[in-house]
Symmetry: C2
Subunit: 434 residues, 2 copies
């Protein structure tokens, strides 16, 4: 008998039928003899509808009250899910974030988990109940107020519960089959990965892969939680996310992997694509020490998150240089406004905004020990006539910025160049949201 933590997102519990399907899935796990703790998101578009109502009554809703409002969404889905399980003849109990002991700091809308004290969950498990916990929400001890965890909160709830309860696995259910070598909608021959290391998963998630949230993967890595990302709509295996020193559970990896078979570590785990960034170029920057620091201090102060940075070689004749950086499209306006306000102080000539870029990242732990990984990337793009505008690297990742229109083609040729193509086209499910 094992302890499973399962997380179901909003699209998995969008209506009464979906809730009953999820309930059956949970009951199946229980029937197989396991303990089950479930973290559940609000139904479908509930959160957006509540945000819309809030906007109607207050232009800038009070953060404490916004958390009180939004936390009602999971309360609805978890109670319905517990009822549905109950009516299948199994004992189920739902718990709010505070009842579950999800203790956070007091940052409304983006609270950080500081402690998990799942006393009531353990009691319920000991009494044989299936436990349903509201995802996304917590409780601050000092203010005694309800908090929410922000984007990807329910994934984080599930992983934190798995860590606190020492669960055998944390299953993150969504409407995709697992982690793929690339987005199957972009690269039709993308293959589902049997497993991926948590550091690779972090790089993939940070660079455009949307199946798991960075924050949950980071929490799992730090607390040694085994994640299994899989689909609500199929019973097949998904992708295992292995932290440091973890191995695939016995029997996992699908029927095609023979017991004890030694698998060669692939150099590259996957190719991530991201169309959500814009590029800003600051032209004619005086080429004197400290100017770059000055510029990025201004940007940081505006609240914009800078990703890649490239400084061109200075033209000796002018004593001036260009600095380009990428950032989320929605942050571009505030960064541009902040820079324009300081133009005379910094002494640059112009600001150029470009939101037609695409970012392609190749991620693989094997890069540490293999040389020539980047050469394969540059060669493949060059043969296809795709121009590289910016490059950045980490220990296990190479990212390039290309024209947005070229991104899909770039992903396909790079996917092929690293030998990642599958024999058949991947099946893409209708639902694309999470």
């Amino acid at each position: 008998m094992a302890l499973f933590v399962q997380k179901y997102g909003g699209s998995s519990v969008a209506d009464a039928e979906s809730i009953k399907r999820v309930a059956k899935r949970i009951v199946d796990t229980r029937r197989a003899g396991h303990d089950v703790v479930v973290a559940v998101s609000a139904m479908g578009d509930t959160t957006d509808e509540l945000l819309d109502l809030a906007a109607q009554v207050a232009p800038i809703p009070a953060p404490r009250e916004l958390d009180m409002l939004l936390s009602s969404g999971e309360r609805i889905s978890m109670a319905l899910l517990a009822m549905a399980i109950h009516s299948m003849g199994f004992e189920a109990r739902s718990f709010t974030g505070s009842q579950a002991g999800m203790i956070t700091d007091a940052t409304h809308g983006a609270a950080r988990i500081v402690d998990v004290t799942p006393v009531r969950l353990r009691e319920a498990l000991d009494e044989g109940a299936i436990v349903i916990v509201a995802g996304f929400q917590g409780f601050n001890r000092d203010t005694r107020d309800i908090t929410t965890l922000g984007r990807g909160g329910s994934d984080t709830t599930a992983v934190a519960l798995a860590a606190a309860l020492d669960a055998d696995v944390c299953e993150i259910y969504s409407d995709v089959d697992g982690i793929f070598t690339a987005d199957p909608r972009v690269v039709p021959r993308a293959q589902k990965l049997t497993h991926v290391s948590s550091e690779e998963m972090l790089e993939l998630a940070a660079n455009g892969a949307k199946v798991l949230y960075i924050r949950a993967v980071e929490y799992a890595r730090r607390h040694g939680v085994l994640i299994h990302a899989r689909s609500t709509f199929s019973s097949g295996e998904g992708t295992w996310v292995l932290g440091h020193g973890m191995t695939l559970p016995a029997g996992a990896g699908g029927p095609t992997v023979a017991e004890g078979e030694e698998m060669e570590e692939p150099i590259v785990a996957g190719v991530a694509t991201d169309l959500s960034q814009a590029k800003i170029t600051v032209t004619g920057v005086p080429d004197v020490p400290g100017k770059a620091a000055e510029i990025f201090k201004i940007v940081a102060k505006s609240g914009a998150n800078v990703d890649m940075i490239v400084q061109n070689v200075s033209a000796a004749s002018t004593g001036r240089t260009d600095i380009s950086f990428t950032l989320p499209k929605e942050d571009a306006a505030i960064a541009l406004r902040a820079l324009a306000g300081e133009q005379s102080d910094v002494g640059f000539e112009n600001l150029v905004h470009d939101d037609q870029i695409g970012k392609l990242s190749v991620v693989g732990a094997g890069m540490r020990t293999h040389s020539g990984v980047s050469a394969t990337l540059f060669e493949a793009l060059s043969v296809s006539g795709i121009n590289i505008e910016m490059i950045s690297t980490s220990e296990i990742r190479i990212s390039v910025v290309v024209r947005g229109d070229d991104l899909a083609e770039a992903a396909r040729v790079v996917h092929t160049a690293y030998g990642l193509d599958g024999d058949a086209e991947a099946v893409v499910h209708a639902g694309s949201g999470r």
Copy 2:
């Protein structure tokens, strides 16, 4: 500076516009220098929608989970109301039933309040905040579970808060202007009462008047809470419900009542009408001791609530008699089934079901000291040719059952006979629900 507790029902907070209107009303009270604690119901049809969802996932929803589900409704309305107040520049904080210290027993769906410990509410008031509390919900200390109070729960929440906080007044807002001498939709010349005693209000509520719930009035009477029933849609005075020994607050009673003017106590406070009951007649009951007890034991065991009972004079020739009783229409089926199942044991001849009856009640504390009150009632009905089928009385009430089709006419002639008619027709607001 006084402390006002205000209760707003679902129709008062049905959408964003309504919420903003209620927020303004609350802020006006605060601006006048008073402390305000608000008990709020779920928005419009939220509760029905949640019940509908529950029915879709489980034929008989688990009571604990149903309470968890339904309690999310007030969480939404109270957070939105607090935001709306906040955006008008006033500090407002919302509290769930458990945060507000609304301690109940563990009876899910119909919990009774056992204690109110409004520590956090007092803190918030001391800090100058307007306090918003979720109506209808509480918390059980032993199970640590969320409970709901059942029908009329938000009225009861408001009165219980007013008692615990020693408020100066508990204002119950709805879409009607107050308590009338009769339902203005039935009796156009009905007049709004300036005040009514709580015992009269109890009888009126128990016999068909829908503005206040019996349970809240009973709680107010027991704990000495002054209730002011008034309309969300007008600024005029409503009706004061005075407990034992209470007098109208200084200035209350509207501009037409001169200070210190001695008002003659009217004999009759109002006429209540009720079309929600059915009549069951058990015919040919053996006229031996203990038969009535036997019949009503069976009915009680079925769960049906009996109201009026009439036993006909026995026909000496047959040694048999008929027993009639009234009960809520929705209880008729279970009572009939239970009686039919015991027909041979009890030895009655037949069961007659009649759901076309109407009940008219005349309520007035003055009945205690005035004679001839019932004669006026019987005379008025007789002159109009309306037949009386059953009669029951309490110390301050006379009720009669007539044909349902005759009820409106009966109410009008009785209203006139007791001198209750106003000079003009009462204004009836569009919304009729609470």
